[in-house]
Symmetry: C2
């Protein structure tokens, strides 16, 4: 397994998630060593949830899995860039395609696009 440097952030590394086809940045999450291993072996993006303190297969609840197409690592091996196919067309738990749907314009925020799904219908538990 390709070794990463998990030491800088106490066992975690940031993972940038980009849509393979368009290059749109979908989200940022964190991986611990187990999440990195699971992502490599299953081909499904797996992160570490800091709030739940557990492994988190992205889409396990919503069905919106991320199928890993390419994995890049940075110059000093402490950040991952995943290029994925986003099942269901949306990565954000709010229903938007990308978590980065807000543009900062001076003192205000402009929202880009529309939600792809209604979170209330997807997260029913």
């Amino acid at each position: 397994m390709v070794e990463l440097n998990f030491d800088k952030m106490g066992g975690l590394i940031p993972a940038i998630v980009q849509e393979a086809e368009t290059g749109e940045v979908l989200m940022l999450a964190f991986m611990n060593k187990a999440a990195w291993q699971a992502t490599l072996t299953t081909g499904k993006a797996t992160y570490y949830s800091r709030t739940r303190q557990s492994l988190w297969v992205k889409g396990e609840t919503s069905g919106n899995l991320q199928i890993v197409k390419e994995i890049r690592i940075d110059c000093d091996d402490d950040t991952v860039l995943l290029k994925v196919e986003q099942v269901g067309g949306a990565a954000c738990h709010t229903g938007y395609k990308s978590c980065f749907f807000k543009t900062v314009e001076g003192e205000s925020i402009r929202v880009n696009g529309q939600p792809v799904f209604n979170p209330k219908e997807v997260y029913t538990k």
Copy 2:
């Protein structure tokens, strides 16, 4: 100033840096509140260097500034996405355009592309 949530990482937030024109992800860095403020007011990407423990205007040594074209924030206001014009054509201190020049292929690493500059010539201090 648009407020971000700096609490989750002890005063820091991750900033993903994407080339505005191509969508290529160039690097990931961290911002504290002062770096966020400086980025907003100067239009030049400014980070917090964890190793030097100080503000870091990207390109202050190499001349390879990042001119901010668009700023996005994520759903829960704890991550920034900068779309930038990369002066000098390379963001990575190794001389590569992107810090993410290494692709993981099973147990091995494939290097993408060639360095744009020779770090020994740029960082002479």
